[in-house]
Amino acid sequence: MKVSNQQNPYQGFGNTEKCKNWGMVIKVDQCFGCDACVAACTLENQTPFWEELWRTHVEDMEVGSYPESQRMFVPRLCMQCENPPCYYVCPTGATQIVEGGIVVVDEYKCIGCQYCVEACPFGARYMYTSEDIEKAKEYYGENTINVVPHVDKCTFCYTTAPDGTNTPACVRACVGGARVFGCLDNPNSEVSMLFNTDQAVQINPELGVGAKVRYVFGNRSSTLQSGGEQ
Protein backbone atom coordinates (compact mmCIF):
# COMPACT_ATOMS: atom_id res chain seq x y z
CA MET A 1 0.00 0.00 0.00
CA LYS A 2 1.33 3.36 -0.94
CA VAL A 3 1.50 5.74 1.99
CA SER A 4 0.92 9.36 1.17
CA ASN A 5 3.22 12.04 2.49
CA GLN A 6 0.49 13.30 4.78
CA GLN A 7 0.30 9.98 6.60
CA ASN A 8 3.94 9.18 6.56
CA PRO A 9 5.48 10.21 9.89
CA TYR A 10 8.91 10.37 8.26
CA GLN A 11 7.82 12.62 5.47
CA GLY A 12 10.36 14.93 4.04
CA PHE A 13 13.30 13.38 5.82
CA GLY A 14 16.56 14.16 4.18
CA ASN A 15 17.55 17.29 2.41
CA THR A 16 14.37 19.23 3.14
CA GLU A 17 13.21 21.67 5.74
CA LYS A 18 9.97 19.96 6.59
CA CYS A 19 10.98 19.02 10.13
CA LYS A 20 13.22 21.00 12.46
CA ASN A 21 13.86 18.25 14.95
CA TRP A 22 14.30 14.66 14.00
CA GLY A 23 14.70 12.31 16.91
CA MET A 24 14.68 8.73 18.04
CA VAL A 25 13.42 6.80 21.01
CA ILE A 26 14.87 3.39 21.77
CA LYS A 27 12.73 0.90 23.61
CA VAL A 28 15.38 -1.13 25.39
CA ASP A 29 12.90 -3.85 26.34
CA GLN A 30 12.24 -4.56 22.69
CA CYS A 31 15.86 -4.93 21.67
CA PHE A 32 17.07 -8.50 21.79
CA GLY A 33 20.54 -7.93 20.42
CA CYS A 34 20.23 -9.43 16.94
CA ASP A 35 22.54 -6.73 15.51
CA ALA A 36 20.41 -6.38 12.37
CA CYS A 37 20.58 -2.60 12.84
CA VAL A 38 24.38 -2.75 12.95
CA ALA A 39 24.51 -4.79 9.74
CA ALA A 40 22.03 -2.53 7.98
CA CYS A 41 23.91 0.61 9.01
CA THR A 42 27.21 -0.91 7.96
CA LEU A 43 25.92 -1.62 4.47
CA GLU A 44 24.07 1.66 4.12
CA ASN A 45 26.95 3.85 5.27
CA GLN A 46 29.87 1.59 4.44
CA THR A 47 31.33 1.79 7.92
CA PRO A 48 34.69 0.10 8.61
CA PHE A 49 33.42 -3.06 10.29
CA TRP A 50 36.88 -4.65 9.85
CA GLU A 51 38.11 -2.23 12.49
CA GLU A 52 35.02 -2.92 14.60
CA LEU A 53 33.98 0.68 14.19
CA TRP A 54 30.30 1.43 13.82
CA ARG A 55 27.93 4.34 13.52
CA THR A 56 25.62 2.33 15.71
CA HIS A 57 26.17 -0.80 17.72
CA VAL A 58 24.35 -2.74 20.38
CA GLU A 59 25.90 -2.97 23.79
CA ASP A 60 25.39 -6.22 25.62
CA MET A 61 25.20 -5.14 29.24
CA GLU A 62 24.87 -6.92 32.51
CA VAL A 63 23.89 -4.61 35.31
CA GLY A 64 23.58 -5.18 39.00
CA SER A 65 24.96 -8.15 40.87
CA TYR A 66 23.69 -11.67 41.29
CA PRO A 67 20.91 -12.63 42.03
CA GLU A 68 19.43 -9.27 41.00
CA SER A 69 21.51 -8.86 37.89
CA GLN A 70 19.84 -8.06 34.59
CA ARG A 71 21.01 -8.45 31.06
CA MET A 72 19.99 -5.93 28.48
CA PHE A 73 20.87 -4.84 24.99
CA VAL A 74 21.31 -1.12 24.62
CA PRO A 75 21.68 0.25 21.11
CA ARG A 76 24.15 3.11 20.89
CA LEU A 77 24.45 5.84 18.31
CA CYS A 78 24.99 9.56 18.01
CA MET A 79 22.59 11.40 20.30
CA GLN A 80 22.12 14.25 17.76
CA CYS A 81 22.54 16.73 20.61
CA GLU A 82 20.93 20.15 20.54
CA ASN A 83 24.16 21.58 21.93
CA PRO A 84 26.65 19.17 20.45
CA PRO A 85 30.13 19.44 22.04
CA CYS A 86 31.57 18.02 18.82
CA TYR A 87 30.14 20.97 16.87
CA TYR A 88 31.71 23.61 19.09
CA VAL A 89 35.18 22.07 19.15
CA CYS A 90 35.54 21.51 15.40
CA PRO A 91 38.20 24.01 14.25
CA THR A 92 37.23 24.08 10.58
CA GLY A 93 33.46 23.98 10.75
CA ALA A 94 33.42 20.50 9.23
CA THR A 95 30.90 19.43 11.85
CA GLN A 96 27.64 21.11 10.97
CA ILE A 97 24.07 21.08 12.18
CA VAL A 98 21.89 20.77 9.10
CA GLU A 99 18.17 21.28 8.72
CA GLY A 100 16.31 18.86 10.88
CA GLY A 101 18.82 19.41 13.69
CA ILE A 102 21.03 16.59 12.46
CA VAL A 103 24.75 16.77 13.18
CA VAL A 104 26.80 15.84 10.12
CA VAL A 105 30.45 15.99 9.07
CA ASP A 106 31.62 17.60 5.85
CA GLU A 107 34.32 15.10 4.97
CA TYR A 108 36.15 17.54 2.71
CA LYS A 109 36.40 20.18 5.41
CA CYS A 110 37.44 17.70 8.10
CA ILE A 111 41.20 17.80 8.68
CA GLY A 112 41.21 14.81 11.02
CA CYS A 113 42.40 16.45 14.24
CA GLN A 114 39.98 14.16 16.13
CA TYR A 115 39.10 16.84 18.64
CA CYS A 116 35.42 15.95 18.13
CA VAL A 117 36.20 12.29 18.86
CA GLU A 118 37.62 13.37 22.21
CA ALA A 119 34.79 15.82 22.84
CA CYS A 120 31.87 13.46 22.24
CA PRO A 121 30.62 12.29 25.65
CA PHE A 122 28.92 9.29 24.06
CA GLY A 123 31.84 7.88 22.09
CA ALA A 124 29.82 8.15 18.90
CA ARG A 125 32.60 9.23 16.54
CA TYR A 126 35.56 7.51 14.96
CA MET A 127 38.20 8.19 12.36
CA TYR A 128 37.63 6.89 8.84
CA THR A 129 41.24 6.60 7.68
CA SER A 130 42.73 6.46 4.20
CA GLU A 131 43.49 2.81 4.88
CA ASP A 132 39.78 2.26 5.59
CA ILE A 133 38.88 3.91 2.29
CA GLU A 134 41.13 1.47 0.45
CA LYS A 135 39.66 -1.45 2.37
CA ALA A 136 36.14 -0.15 1.71
CA LYS A 137 36.79 -0.46 -2.04
CA GLU A 138 37.50 -4.16 -1.54
CA TYR A 139 34.25 -4.73 0.34
CA TYR A 140 31.86 -2.23 -1.21
CA GLY A 141 33.24 -1.78 -4.70
CA GLU A 142 34.98 1.15 -6.34
CA ASN A 143 32.12 3.63 -5.88
CA THR A 144 32.45 4.05 -2.14
CA ILE A 145 30.61 6.87 -0.41
CA ASN A 146 33.55 7.73 1.85
CA VAL A 147 36.12 9.35 -0.36
CA VAL A 148 38.62 11.16 1.85
CA PRO A 149 39.80 10.52 5.42
CA HIS A 150 37.45 12.12 7.92
CA VAL A 151 35.71 11.64 11.22
CA ASP A 152 32.55 9.64 10.74
CA LYS A 153 29.38 9.44 12.78
CA CYS A 154 25.69 8.58 12.65
CA THR A 155 23.64 11.10 10.68
CA PHE A 156 20.28 9.33 10.88
CA CYS A 157 21.24 8.26 7.33
CA TYR A 158 20.87 11.90 6.30
CA THR A 159 22.85 11.50 3.13
CA THR A 160 21.69 8.05 2.17
CA ALA A 161 18.07 7.79 3.32
CA PRO A 162 16.34 10.18 0.89
CA ASP A 163 16.05 7.37 -1.59
CA GLY A 164 12.35 7.02 -1.00
CA THR A 165 12.48 4.99 2.17
CA ASN A 166 12.81 8.07 4.37
CA THR A 167 14.00 6.23 7.42
CA PRO A 168 17.43 5.41 8.77
CA ALA A 169 18.65 1.94 7.88
CA CYS A 170 18.77 0.80 11.50
CA VAL A 171 15.10 1.66 12.01
CA ARG A 172 14.09 -0.18 8.87
CA ALA A 173 16.07 -3.24 9.91
CA CYS A 174 15.02 -3.42 13.55
CA VAL A 175 13.16 -6.68 14.01
CA GLY A 176 11.77 -5.95 17.47
CA GLY A 177 10.65 -2.42 16.67
CA ALA A 178 12.96 -1.10 19.33
CA ARG A 179 13.92 2.02 17.40
CA VAL A 180 11.22 4.60 16.90
CA PHE A 181 12.21 7.44 14.60
CA GLY A 182 10.43 10.54 13.43
CA CYS A 183 9.79 14.24 13.70
CA LEU A 184 9.78 15.49 17.25
CA ASP A 185 7.83 18.58 16.25
CA ASN A 186 4.84 16.56 15.20
CA PRO A 187 2.82 15.96 18.39
CA ASN A 188 0.95 13.10 16.77
CA SER A 189 4.02 11.11 15.83
CA GLU A 190 4.85 8.01 17.85
CA VAL A 191 8.34 9.23 18.51
CA SER A 192 7.10 12.57 19.78
CA MET A 193 4.58 10.97 22.09
CA LEU A 194 7.20 8.62 23.51
CA PHE A 195 9.85 11.31 23.68
CA ASN A 196 7.73 13.59 25.80
CA THR A 197 6.80 11.03 28.43
CA ASP A 198 8.67 10.55 31.70
CA GLN A 199 9.58 7.08 30.55
CA ALA A 200 11.93 8.36 27.87
CA VAL A 201 15.19 9.32 29.54
CA GLN A 202 18.33 11.01 28.39
CA ILE A 203 21.68 9.43 29.06
CA ASN A 204 23.74 11.73 31.28
CA PRO A 205 21.28 14.65 31.32
CA GLU A 206 23.62 16.59 33.61
CA LEU A 207 25.88 17.23 30.62
CA GLY A 208 23.24 19.57 29.25
CA VAL A 209 23.74 18.57 25.64
CA GLY A 210 20.03 18.06 24.91
CA ALA A 211 20.16 14.60 23.38
CA LYS A 212 17.51 13.91 20.75
CA VAL A 213 17.88 10.18 21.21
CA ARG A 214 16.17 8.92 24.33
CA TYR A 215 15.75 5.53 25.94
CA VAL A 216 12.71 3.81 27.36
CA PHE A 217 13.94 1.22 29.79
CA GLY A 218 10.45 -0.16 30.46
CA ASN A 219 10.58 -2.72 33.23
CA ARG A 220 14.25 -2.12 33.96
CA SER A 221 15.39 -0.65 37.23
CA SER A 222 14.49 3.02 37.63
CA THR A 223 17.98 3.81 38.88
CA LEU A 224 19.37 2.78 35.53
CA GLN A 225 17.21 5.34 33.81
CA SER A 226 19.10 8.21 35.34
CA GLY A 227 22.37 6.75 34.21
CA GLY A 228 23.41 5.92 37.75
CA GLU A 229 24.64 2.70 39.21
CA GLN A 230 22.21 0.14 40.48
Binding site: E51, L53, E59, M61, V63, V74, R76, P85, Y88, V89, C90, P91, T92, G93, A94, K109, C110, I111, G112, C113, Q114, Y115, V117, E118, A119, C120, P121, F122, G123, Y126, M127, T129, S130, E131, V148, P149, H150, I203, N204, L207, V209, L224, G227, G228, E229, Q230
Partner: protein
Protein backbone atom coordinates in the same frame (compact mmCIF):
# COMPACT_ATOMS: atom_id res chain seq x y z
CA UNK B 1 112.16 37.60 16.35
CA UNK B 2 110.65 38.07 12.88
CA UNK B 3 110.42 34.32 12.67
CA UNK B 4 108.44 34.17 15.96
CA UNK B 5 106.00 36.86 14.80
CA UNK B 6 105.59 35.02 11.54
CA UNK B 7 104.92 31.76 13.37
CA UNK B 8 102.31 33.46 15.60
CA UNK B 9 100.53 34.93 12.57
CA UNK B 10 100.62 31.53 10.93
CA UNK B 11 99.14 29.89 14.04
CA UNK B 12 96.30 32.47 14.20
CA UNK B 13 95.60 31.97 10.52
CA UNK B 14 95.56 28.19 10.90
CA UNK B 15 93.30 28.38 14.00
CA UNK B 16 90.92 30.72 12.22
CA UNK B 17 90.82 28.44 9.22
CA UNK B 18 90.28 25.39 11.42
CA UNK B 19 87.46 27.17 13.24
CA UNK B 20 85.85 28.03 9.91
CA UNK B 21 86.09 24.44 8.73
CA UNK B 22 84.65 23.25 12.03
CA UNK B 23 81.75 25.68 11.73
CA UNK B 24 81.01 24.68 8.15
CA UNK B 25 81.12 21.01 9.14
CA UNK B 26 78.70 21.55 12.04
CA UNK B 27 76.41 23.61 9.80
CA UNK B 28 76.47 20.90 7.12
CA UNK B 29 75.70 18.19 9.70
CA UNK B 30 72.89 20.35 11.10
CA UNK B 31 71.35 20.85 7.66
CA UNK B 32 71.56 17.13 6.94
CA UNK B 33 69.96 16.36 10.32
CA UNK B 34 67.19 18.92 9.75
CA UNK B 35 66.37 17.34 6.39
CA UNK B 36 66.62 13.87 7.88
CA UNK B 37 64.29 14.86 10.71
CA UNK B 38 61.71 16.30 8.30
CA UNK B 39 61.94 13.23 6.10
CA UNK B 40 61.62 10.89 9.04
CA UNK B 41 58.56 12.72 10.36
CA UNK B 42 56.94 12.67 6.91
CA UNK B 43 57.71 8.98 6.51
CA UNK B 44 56.28 8.39 9.99
CA UNK B 45 53.12 10.26 9.02
CA UNK B 46 52.65 8.17 5.89
CA UNK B 47 53.35 4.97 7.79
CA UNK B 48 50.85 5.98 10.44
CA UNK B 49 48.17 6.35 7.78
CA UNK B 50 48.46 2.74 6.69
CA UNK B 51 49.26 1.17 10.04
CA UNK B 52 46.65 -0.30 12.30
CA UNK B 53 45.10 2.67 14.06
CA UNK B 54 44.83 3.06 17.79
CA UNK B 55 41.20 4.20 17.88
CA UNK B 56 40.86 4.02 21.63
CA UNK B 57 43.51 6.69 22.07
CA UNK B 58 42.99 9.27 19.31
CA UNK B 59 45.52 11.63 20.89
CA UNK B 60 48.65 9.61 21.36
CA UNK B 61 52.39 10.25 21.21
CA UNK B 62 51.95 12.93 18.52
CA UNK B 63 49.80 15.13 20.76
CA UNK B 64 51.99 14.37 23.80
CA UNK B 65 55.06 15.43 21.81
CA UNK B 66 53.34 18.53 20.52
CA UNK B 67 52.32 19.57 24.03
CA UNK B 68 55.82 18.85 25.31
CA UNK B 69 57.63 20.96 22.72
CA UNK B 70 54.99 23.69 22.89
CA UNK B 71 55.52 23.92 26.63
CA UNK B 72 59.30 24.06 26.27
CA UNK B 73 59.06 26.85 23.67
CA UNK B 74 56.59 28.96 25.58
CA UNK B 75 58.22 28.26 28.94
CA UNK B 76 61.54 29.41 27.58
CA UNK B 77 59.89 32.69 26.60
CA UNK B 78 58.59 33.16 30.13
CA UNK B 79 62.12 32.58 31.46
CA UNK B 80 63.47 35.10 28.92
CA UNK B 81 61.02 37.69 30.17
CA UNK B 82 63.08 37.93 33.35
CA UNK B 83 65.57 39.83 31.21
CA UNK B 84 63.42 41.31 28.43
CA UNK B 85 60.64 42.66 30.67
CA UNK B 86 61.81 42.64 34.25
CA UNK B 87 65.33 43.76 33.43
CA UNK B 88 67.30 41.16 35.38
CA UNK B 89 70.67 40.83 33.67
CA UNK B 90 72.75 38.96 36.24
CA UNK B 91 75.50 40.22 38.56
CA UNK B 92 77.82 41.22 35.68
CA UNK B 93 75.40 41.43 32.79
CA UNK B 94 75.76 37.74 31.95
CA UNK B 95 72.13 37.38 30.98
CA UNK B 96 72.59 39.93 28.22
CA UNK B 97 75.24 37.68 26.71
CA UNK B 98 72.90 34.71 26.39
CA UNK B 99 69.50 36.30 25.83
CA UNK B 100 69.64 35.99 22.02
CA UNK B 101 70.42 32.32 22.38
CA UNK B 102 67.41 32.02 24.70
CA UNK B 103 65.09 33.76 22.24
CA UNK B 104 66.35 31.63 19.36
CA UNK B 105 65.87 28.54 21.50
CA UNK B 106 62.19 29.39 21.96
CA UNK B 107 61.71 30.01 18.25
CA UNK B 108 63.56 26.91 17.07
CA UNK B 109 61.65 24.68 19.50
CA UNK B 110 58.30 25.75 18.03
CA UNK B 111 59.11 23.99 14.78
CA UNK B 112 59.28 20.60 16.46
CA UNK B 113 55.89 21.23 18.04
CA UNK B 114 54.45 22.33 14.70
CA UNK B 115 55.88 19.35 12.90
CA UNK B 116 54.14 17.00 15.30
CA UNK B 117 50.82 18.78 15.39
CA UNK B 118 50.74 19.05 11.61
CA UNK B 119 51.39 15.36 11.08
CA UNK B 120 48.95 14.43 13.83
CA UNK B 121 46.23 15.55 11.41
CA UNK B 122 44.81 13.05 8.95
CA UNK B 123 45.09 15.73 6.27
CA UNK B 124 48.02 17.90 7.32
CA UNK B 125 48.09 19.95 4.17
CA UNK B 126 44.50 21.06 4.74
CA UNK B 127 45.46 22.82 7.97
CA UNK B 128 44.76 26.14 6.24
CA UNK B 129 41.05 25.31 6.58
CA UNK B 130 41.43 26.26 10.24
CA UNK B 131 42.05 29.84 9.15
CA UNK B 132 39.71 29.76 6.14
CA UNK B 133 36.72 28.38 8.06
CA UNK B 134 37.71 29.53 11.53
CA UNK B 135 35.18 28.38 14.13
CA UNK B 136 35.34 30.81 16.97
CA UNK B 137 34.16 28.33 19.63
CA UNK B 138 36.91 25.83 18.85
CA UNK B 139 39.93 25.77 21.15
CA UNK B 140 42.06 24.14 18.47
CA UNK B 141 41.21 26.93 16.05
CA UNK B 142 42.34 29.42 18.68
CA UNK B 143 45.41 27.31 19.34
CA UNK B 144 46.40 27.70 15.69
CA UNK B 145 45.76 31.44 15.79
CA UNK B 146 47.49 32.11 19.09
CA UNK B 147 50.42 29.86 18.32
CA UNK B 148 50.92 31.64 15.02
CA UNK B 149 50.75 34.96 16.84
CA UNK B 150 53.29 33.69 19.36
CA UNK B 151 55.63 32.54 16.59
CA UNK B 152 55.30 35.83 14.71
CA UNK B 153 56.07 37.79 17.87
CA UNK B 154 59.09 35.58 18.56
CA UNK B 155 60.38 36.10 15.02
CA UNK B 156 59.98 39.84 15.54
CA UNK B 157 61.80 39.63 18.88
CA UNK B 158 64.73 37.65 17.46
CA UNK B 159 64.95 39.95 14.43
CA UNK B 160 64.86 42.98 16.68
CA UNK B 161 67.65 41.60 18.85
CA UNK B 162 69.80 41.02 15.76
CA UNK B 163 68.95 44.17 13.84
CA UNK B 164 69.28 46.52 16.78
CA UNK B 165 73.04 45.88 16.80
CA UNK B 166 73.41 47.33 13.31
CA UNK B 167 70.50 49.74 12.98
CA UNK B 168 70.88 52.66 15.32
CA UNK B 169 67.40 53.82 14.36
CA UNK B 170 65.81 50.94 16.25
CA UNK B 171 67.60 51.91 19.44
CA UNK B 172 66.08 55.36 19.21
CA UNK B 173 62.50 54.09 19.25
CA UNK B 174 61.61 54.25 22.90
CA UNK B 175 60.04 51.23 24.56
CA UNK B 176 60.04 49.21 21.31
CA UNK B 177 62.05 46.40 22.88
CA UNK B 178 59.82 46.36 25.93
CA UNK B 179 56.64 46.46 23.81
CA UNK B 180 57.80 43.46 21.78
CA UNK B 181 58.76 41.56 24.93
CA UNK B 182 55.39 42.29 26.57
CA UNK B 183 53.55 41.10 23.45
CA UNK B 184 55.61 37.89 23.47
CA UNK B 185 54.70 37.29 27.12
CA UNK B 186 51.02 38.03 26.49
CA UNK B 187 51.05 35.59 23.57
CA UNK B 188 52.77 33.00 25.78
CA UNK B 189 50.21 33.22 28.57
CA UNK B 190 47.36 33.23 26.03
CA UNK B 191 48.77 30.07 24.40
CA UNK B 192 48.98 28.35 27.78
CA UNK B 193 45.50 29.40 28.80
CA UNK B 194 44.10 28.10 25.54
CA UNK B 195 46.15 24.90 25.63
CA UNK B 196 44.75 24.21 29.08
CA UNK B 197 41.24 24.73 27.75
CA UNK B 198 41.82 22.47 24.73
CA UNK B 199 41.77 19.66 27.25
CA UNK B 200 39.99 21.32 30.16
CA UNK B 201 36.81 22.26 28.33
CA UNK B 202 35.92 18.68 27.38
CA UNK B 203 32.96 17.41 29.39
CA UNK B 204 33.60 14.02 27.87
CA UNK B 205 36.91 13.67 29.72
CA UNK B 206 36.31 14.28 33.42
CA UNK B 207 39.98 13.66 34.26
CA UNK B 208 40.95 16.67 32.13
CA UNK B 209 37.96 18.81 32.82
CA UNK B 210 38.47 22.14 34.58
CA UNK B 211 40.50 25.30 34.50
CA UNK B 212 43.31 23.81 36.62
CA UNK B 213 45.18 22.61 33.53
CA UNK B 214 46.13 26.13 32.48
CA UNK B 215 48.00 26.76 35.72
CA UNK B 216 49.53 23.30 35.51
CA UNK B 217 50.76 23.98 31.99
CA UNK B 218 52.26 27.35 32.92
CA UNK B 219 54.23 25.79 35.77
CA UNK B 220 55.32 22.83 33.67
CA UNK B 221 56.32 25.23 30.91
CA UNK B 222 58.58 27.27 33.17
CA UNK B 223 60.27 24.10 34.42
CA UNK B 224 60.70 22.59 30.97
CA UNK B 225 61.57 25.86 29.25
CA UNK B 226 64.28 26.69 31.77
CA UNK B 227 65.64 23.14 31.61
CA UNK B 228 65.73 23.00 27.81
CA UNK B 229 67.22 26.44 27.48
CA UNK B 230 69.94 25.87 30.05
CA UNK B 231 70.93 22.60 28.40
CA UNK B 232 71.18 24.02 24.89
CA UNK B 233 72.88 27.28 25.87
CA UNK B 234 75.34 25.34 28.00
CA UNK B 235 76.49 23.39 24.94
CA UNK B 236 77.20 26.64 23.09
CA UNK B 237 78.82 28.38 26.07
CA UNK B 238 80.62 25.39 27.56
CA UNK B 239 83.99 27.15 27.38
CA UNK B 240 82.82 30.39 29.01
CA UNK B 241 83.31 29.94 32.75
CA UNK B 242 81.54 33.16 33.74
CA UNK B 243 78.43 32.22 31.83
CA UNK B 244 78.57 28.65 33.11
CA UNK B 245 78.80 29.88 36.67
CA UNK B 246 75.94 32.34 36.16
CA UNK B 247 73.75 29.78 34.45
CA UNK B 248 74.32 27.20 37.20
CA UNK B 249 73.18 29.64 39.83
CA UNK B 250 70.38 31.29 37.87
CA UNK B 251 68.73 28.16 36.50
CA UNK B 252 69.15 26.33 39.83
CA UNK B 253 67.33 29.27 41.40
CA UNK B 254 64.51 28.99 38.84
CA UNK B 255 64.17 25.26 39.55
CA UNK B 256 64.24 25.85 43.31
CA UNK B 257 61.35 28.27 43.01
CA UNK B 258 59.20 26.41 40.54
CA UNK B 259 59.67 22.75 41.54
CA UNK B 260 58.19 23.08 45.08
CA UNK B 261 55.24 25.09 43.70
CA UNK B 262 54.70 22.46 41.02
CA UNK B 263 54.86 19.69 43.61
CA UNK B 264 52.36 21.47 45.84
CA UNK B 265 50.00 22.00 42.90
CA UNK B 266 50.32 18.37 41.83
CA UNK B 267 49.42 17.27 45.36
CA UNK B 268 46.40 19.55 45.29
CA UNK B 269 45.31 18.07 41.95
CA UNK B 270 45.52 14.55 43.35
CA UNK B 271 43.63 15.49 46.53
CA UNK B 272 40.97 17.19 44.40
CA UNK B 273 40.68 14.07 42.26
CA UNK B 274 40.07 12.02 45.40
CA UNK B 275 37.04 14.17 46.18
CA UNK B 276 35.91 14.44 42.55
CA UNK B 277 33.42 12.47 40.53
CA UNK B 278 33.64 8.71 40.25
CA UNK B 279 34.87 9.23 36.72
CA UNK B 280 38.01 11.13 37.78
CA UNK B 281 39.47 9.14 40.63
CA UNK B 282 39.99 5.86 38.70
CA UNK B 283 42.52 7.64 36.48
CA UNK B 284 44.52 8.93 39.42
CA UNK B 285 44.17 5.61 41.17
CA UNK B 286 45.83 3.93 38.20
CA UNK B 287 48.49 6.62 38.20
CA UNK B 288 49.26 6.36 41.92
CA UNK B 289 48.74 2.68 42.64
CA UNK B 290 47.93 0.89 39.42
CA UNK B 291 49.36 0.22 36.01
CA UNK B 292 51.28 3.51 35.74
CA UNK B 293 52.46 3.70 39.34
CA UNK B 294 56.08 2.76 38.60
CA UNK B 295 56.37 5.39 35.90
CA UNK B 296 54.71 7.98 38.11
CA UNK B 297 56.72 7.40 41.29
CA UNK B 298 60.07 6.44 39.76
CA UNK B 299 60.28 8.75 36.75
CA UNK B 300 57.84 11.60 37.28
CA UNK B 301 58.29 12.10 41.01
CA UNK B 302 61.69 10.72 42.01
CA UNK B 303 63.66 11.36 38.83
CA UNK B 304 61.61 14.29 37.57
CA UNK B 305 61.13 16.25 40.79
CA UNK B 306 63.16 15.16 43.82
CA UNK B 307 66.46 14.42 42.07
CA UNK B 308 66.43 17.78 40.18
CA UNK B 309 65.46 19.52 43.42
CA UNK B 310 68.45 18.04 45.25
CA UNK B 311 70.74 18.79 42.29
CA UNK B 312 69.47 22.37 42.15
CA UNK B 313 70.29 22.92 45.81
CA UNK B 314 73.80 21.62 45.16
CA UNK B 315 74.12 23.57 41.91
CA UNK B 316 72.99 26.79 43.56
CA UNK B 317 75.30 26.54 46.55
CA UNK B 318 78.38 25.23 44.72
CA UNK B 319 77.69 26.95 41.40
CA UNK B 320 78.11 23.53 39.89
CA UNK B 321 77.45 23.33 36.17
CA UNK B 322 77.14 19.57 36.04
CA UNK B 323 74.55 19.62 38.83
CA UNK B 324 72.44 22.24 37.02
CA UNK B 325 72.76 20.42 33.71
CA UNK B 326 71.89 17.06 35.28
CA UNK B 327 68.86 18.69 36.93
CA UNK B 328 67.82 20.01 33.51
CA UNK B 329 68.12 16.56 31.91
CA UNK B 330 66.05 14.92 34.66
CA UNK B 331 63.45 17.66 34.49
CA UNK B 332 63.08 17.13 30.75
CA UNK B 333 62.69 13.36 31.17
CA UNK B 334 60.24 13.67 34.09
CA UNK B 335 58.35 16.44 32.31
CA UNK B 336 57.87 14.32 29.22
CA UNK B 337 56.57 11.37 31.19
CA UNK B 338 54.18 13.55 33.19
CA UNK B 339 52.69 14.94 29.99
CA UNK B 340 52.44 11.41 28.61
CA UNK B 341 50.51 10.28 31.69
CA UNK B 342 48.34 13.37 31.67
CA UNK B 343 47.26 12.93 28.07
CA UNK B 344 47.31 9.19 27.47
CA UNK B 345 46.11 7.67 30.75
CA UNK B 346 42.63 9.30 30.82
CA UNK B 347 42.09 8.02 27.28
CA UNK B 348 43.24 4.50 28.15
CA UNK B 349 40.80 4.22 31.02
CA UNK B 350 38.16 6.72 29.82
CA UNK B 351 35.84 6.26 32.79
CA UNK B 352 32.34 7.45 32.00
CA UNK B 353 28.78 6.83 32.97
CA UNK B 354 26.80 5.25 30.17
CA UNK B 355 23.80 3.63 31.79
CA UNK B 356 26.27 2.33 34.35
CA UNK B 357 29.82 3.41 35.21
CA UNK B 358 32.15 1.99 32.59
CA UNK B 359 35.92 1.98 32.65
CA UNK B 360 37.81 0.76 29.63
CA UNK B 361 41.07 -1.02 30.19
CA UNK B 362 43.14 -0.29 27.15
CA UNK B 363 46.93 -0.34 27.10
CA UNK B 364 48.29 2.15 24.63
CA UNK B 365 51.48 1.71 22.74
CA UNK B 366 52.33 4.19 19.99
CA UNK B 367 52.51 2.95 16.42
CA UNK B 368 55.84 2.82 14.58
CA UNK B 369 54.73 5.78 12.46
CA UNK B 370 54.09 7.91 15.53
CA UNK B 371 57.41 6.92 17.08
CA UNK B 372 59.21 7.94 13.87
CA UNK B 373 57.33 11.24 13.83
CA UNK B 374 58.37 11.91 17.40
CA UNK B 375 62.00 10.98 16.73
CA UNK B 376 61.92 13.31 13.71
CA UNK B 377 60.69 16.19 15.86
CA UNK B 378 63.23 15.37 18.56
CA UNK B 379 66.10 15.35 16.03
CA UNK B 380 64.86 18.59 14.46
CA UNK B 381 64.96 20.34 17.83
CA UNK B 382 68.77 20.47 18.47
CA UNK B 383 69.63 20.48 14.76
CA UNK B 384 67.66 23.62 14.03
CA UNK B 385 68.98 25.26 17.18
CA UNK B 386 72.58 24.45 16.24
CA UNK B 387 72.06 25.74 12.72
CA UNK B 388 70.67 29.01 14.05
CA UNK B 389 73.58 29.54 16.43
CA UNK B 390 75.94 29.18 13.48
CA UNK B 391 74.18 31.41 10.96
CA UNK B 392 72.67 34.14 13.16
CA UNK B 393 74.79 36.67 15.09
CA UNK B 394 73.61 35.71 18.57
CA UNK B 395 76.64 36.86 20.55
CA UNK B 396 76.45 40.02 22.63
CA UNK B 397 76.94 43.16 20.48
CA UNK B 398 77.55 41.00 17.42
CA UNK B 399 76.57 42.65 14.15
CA UNK B 400 75.19 40.88 11.13
CA UNK B 401 77.51 40.80 8.14
CA UNK B 402 75.31 39.31 5.42
CA UNK B 403 71.75 40.14 4.38
CA UNK B 404 71.11 42.13 7.59
CA UNK B 405 70.52 39.11 9.80
CA UNK B 406 73.24 36.58 9.00
CA UNK B 407 76.74 36.23 10.33
Amino acid sequence: MYLEIGQAHYRVAVNSKMWKIKKITIAAISIVLVLLALGMAYYGYNLNQIEEQVFDVPWGLDVVGYTYFALIATGSSIVNSMYTIFGYSGPNGEYKRIIKYGAWFSLSTIFSAWLLVLFSLAKPFDFTYIFLFFRISSRIAWMAALYSFFAIMLVIEVLYMILVESWALLKRIKYLELAIAILVLIATVAVHSNLGEVFGSLISMPAWYGSWLTIYFIMSAIMLGAAGQSLFIYVVKRKDNDIKSFMSRYFSEVYLIIIPIYLMYLTWIIISAWYSRETVWPVYQALLFGSDAIVFWAIEILLGIFVPLALSVYGYIKKSSWAAISAAVFLLIGGFMSKYSLIVLPQELRPYVWVTLQISNYTYFPSTGLILMFIGAAVLWPSLYALGTLIFPLEEDEKAKHLWIFR
